[in-house]
């Protein structure tokens, strides 16, 4: 379990806005090994999303080196980055980012269609299976507007894992969800992590971070803290407990009424 999936060192990102320069990342070193479930915390504007976008090969750092799964990423062409995103990465956004007026199964199928290695034959079937894995086997033909926030995020997660990526990146995946649905989504990430996928989740909520195995804290473009969580909570257990409490409450209400 010690193979590094991610190795970055000295990564800087500077945005130039006219005269002024914004230092979004001021030199970040980070190593993530295979099978980790990592939470990235930090206040708003600290550089979490910038870091995630660079890790996700969506953005290019101003300086520093990045090796993803043994592949040197910095200096790659736009096309190679696109292929790398397709083959190795799954990305989950805060705002779901599903194609509107497009069914769930078509949304999930999308990454398979952009594959250039001819790995996938029955893309529609694979997409349906991925949706089943996130518990949406009965919602294949629903459009995003016909799904709840939690369900939409599940579709997005299915889309991220359908290509069997090495790394799953999620930028505030629970940011738009209520607390219960958030825990459900975290249970899904924990389950996927147990199946061997390396997961990195950005969040500014400590409640969410407690489900990770390791937490790093970003402040002002630098990693300030990096510690392992001694005993991570199980999101699945929390969901079960919430269910039990709700059942008790409902029973209580019925008793009072009787």
């Amino acid at each position: 379990m010690s193979t590094p999936v991610i190795e970055i060192s000295g990564v800087k990102k500077i945005y130039r806005m006219g005269e002024t320069e914004v230092f979004a990342l001021r030199g970040v070193d980070l190593t993530v090994t295979a099978g980790e479930l990592l939470a990235v915390m930090g206040s708003s504007g600290s550089g979490k999303s910038t870091l995630m976008n660079i890790l996700g090969c969506l953005d290019i750092p101003t300086a520093g080196s990045y090796v993803l799964d043994g592949i040197r990423v910095d200096g790659m062409s736009r096309n190679d980055l696109a292929d790398l995103r397709n083959r190795k990465l799954g990305f989950v956004f805060q705002g779901f980012n599903l194609l509107p007026r497009t069914s769930a199964v078509e949304n999930v199928e999308l990454p398979l269609l952009y594959d250039r290695t001819a790995r996938w034959t029955n893309t529609r079937q694979l997409a349906a299976e991925a949706l089943e894995r996130v518990g949406l086997g009965a919602r294949l033909e629903h459009q995003p507007s016909e799904l709840s926030g939690g369900q939409q995020q599940r579709v997005a997660i299915a889309r991220a894992l359908v290509t069997q990526p090495t790394l799953l990146l999620a930028d505030e995946p629970t940011g738009n969800l209520d607390s219960r649905t958030s825990i459900e989504v975290m249970a899904l990430f924990q389950a996927l992590n147990e199946q061997g996928i390396t997961v990195i989740i950005v969040t500014h909520e400590p409640d969410i971070a407690q489900y990770a195995h390791r937490v790093i804290e970003v402040r002002d473009g630098r990693i300030m803290k990096d510690h392992a969580v001694a005993a991570p909570r199980s999101a699945a257990d929390d969901v079960a407990r919430l269910d039990a409490e709700a059942a008790e409450l409902a029973a209580g209400v019925t008793k009072e009424a009787a």
Partner: protein, 405 residues
């Protein structure tokens, strides 16, 4: 990306905006439709004129009495400037660029059979006449040189006369009277229909010019002389040659204006054809402007579409679409849209041409090549006007596209 998924994808996004797609396509529909109608009408006119030229005869040269020079009035014919058999004979013997020469004596009289009468035009001609006019006999034959020399009373009937006087029988061998003179029918002419000016070309009887002169008109003068040049290239030289012979024959070598006119009807008709073909081209060119306007419409909509779908482009790039994938997608969309418009325009163009032809009584015909050109052109419009927006989409930065509100 597979062609099939590209097409379903393009079809999907086109269908998601039905109204907009239809309005965008309308530009191309109108453009292609207009081009097809214009070409059909122009082409039809041209075919009609060409058919008429063919009816005129091969390399036809017409010599008529009187001058059409200054003033335009041809007083000569009424006085002393006339065409004679001698003129026709001299042209036939002296000219080197002509393949056939025939005098034409025109007179009108009654055709009388046992069943009825028919007033018609009698043309006294030589055996060259059919060659010159490019006419054929369907039954029997034309008279021979022997008949001409012997001034035999033989006649070849036009189809209209046969239809009216011999509705069910083959007239060859029957006896008829032209005026008071009995003639034997020896042939029937092919039906040719009307000329552009509405003259029935089949309402005619051909007889040897010698017989006509002797028995029917009593005139020694000719209405006209017809001649055929050996080839279309000889037309101008042949007319000059005829003019020289005629001037000599009429004693005009010392000077003086021509007292006859040599005309080339084919040239006039051919000028008409080329005028129509220029008109057709012009109409098609004007119509293709609307095709270009339609293309600009597509470009406009595609640009709006790229802006509107910036986030979609970002999503596609995030899951692994290359710039070229996005470019192809938008290009396919604009080409599918313009091709669809082209095909609908084609159908409307054909329908419109048919209706126009029916209502206005014009003959219309669309060459097959116009179909390919129209479809090819609308696809080219799609590529040309779709390229810039597609290029713009492909060049987007994934992160900025994803952040786009």
């Amino acid at each position: 990306m597979k062609t099939k998924s590209l097409l379903t994808m393009a079809g999907g996004s086109i269908l998601k905006n039905k109204m907009r797609t239809m309005l965008t396509m309308l530009g191309i529909v109108i453009g292609v439709g207009a081009v097809i109608v214009m070409v059909a009408v122009g082409n039809g006119a041209q075919t009609q004129i060409e058919a008429q030229i063919k009816n005129l005869g091969t390399n036809l040269i017409v010599i008529t009495p009187g001058s059409t020079a200054a003033g335009g009035a041809s007083q000569g014919a009424q006085t002393f400037n006339r065409l004679t058999i001698a003129d026709a004979d001299k042209i036939k013997s002296d000219a080197t660029l002509l393949s056939a020469v025939s005098p034409v004596i025109v007179t009108r009289t009654q055709v009388i059979t046992g069943k009825g009468n028919w007033r018609t035009e009698i043309n006294g001609v030589s055996t060259d006449y059919l060659t010159i006019r490019d006419w054929n006999v369907t039954s029997g034959s034309l008279f021979s040189d022997d008949d001409v020399n012997a001034k035999r009373k033989v006649a070849v009937l036009g189809a209209t006369i046969v239809k009216n006087l011999f509705p069910d029988t083959d007239p060859v061998g029957s006896q008829i009277q032209l005026g008071h003179v009995p003639f034997t029918v020896i042939g029937v002419l092919d039906a040719k229909g009307q000329t552009s000016s509405g003259v029935d070309q089949d309402d005619v009887v051909l007889v040897p010019y010698t017989t006509a002169q002797d028995r029917l008109s009593g005139m020694t003068f000719l209405g006209q002389i017809l001649a055929s040049a050996q080839s279309p290239n000889d037309m101008v030289a042949a007319q000059e040659e005829i003019r020289g012979i005629m001037r000599e024959s009429h004693g005009l070598l010392g000077g003086g204006a021509d007292d006859f006119t040599v005309r080339d009807q084919t040239a006039i008709a051919q000028a008409a054809t080329s005028t129509t073909s220029v008109m057709t081209g012009l109409l098609a060119a004007i119509a293709s402007i609307s095709l270009v306007v339609g293309g600009i419409g597509i470009m406009n909509i595609m640009l709006v579409s790229v802006t509107e779908r910036t986030r979609e482009i970002g999503i596609r790039m995030a899951v692994g679409a290359r710039g070229s994938d996005v470019l192809t997608q938008f290009l396919v969309e604009s080409v599918v849209m313009s091709l669809l418009g082209g095909v609908v325009g084609l159908a409307i163009g054909f329908g419109g041409a048919a209706i126009l032809g029916h209502v206005m009584g014009w003959s219309t015909s669309t060459p097959l090549i116009a179909v390919f050109v129209a479809v090819g052109f609308s696809a080219a419009v799609g590529v040309f006007f779709g390229f810039y927006p597609a290029k713009k989409a492909a060049a987007l930065d994934p992160i900025q596209a994803l952040r786009y509100e």
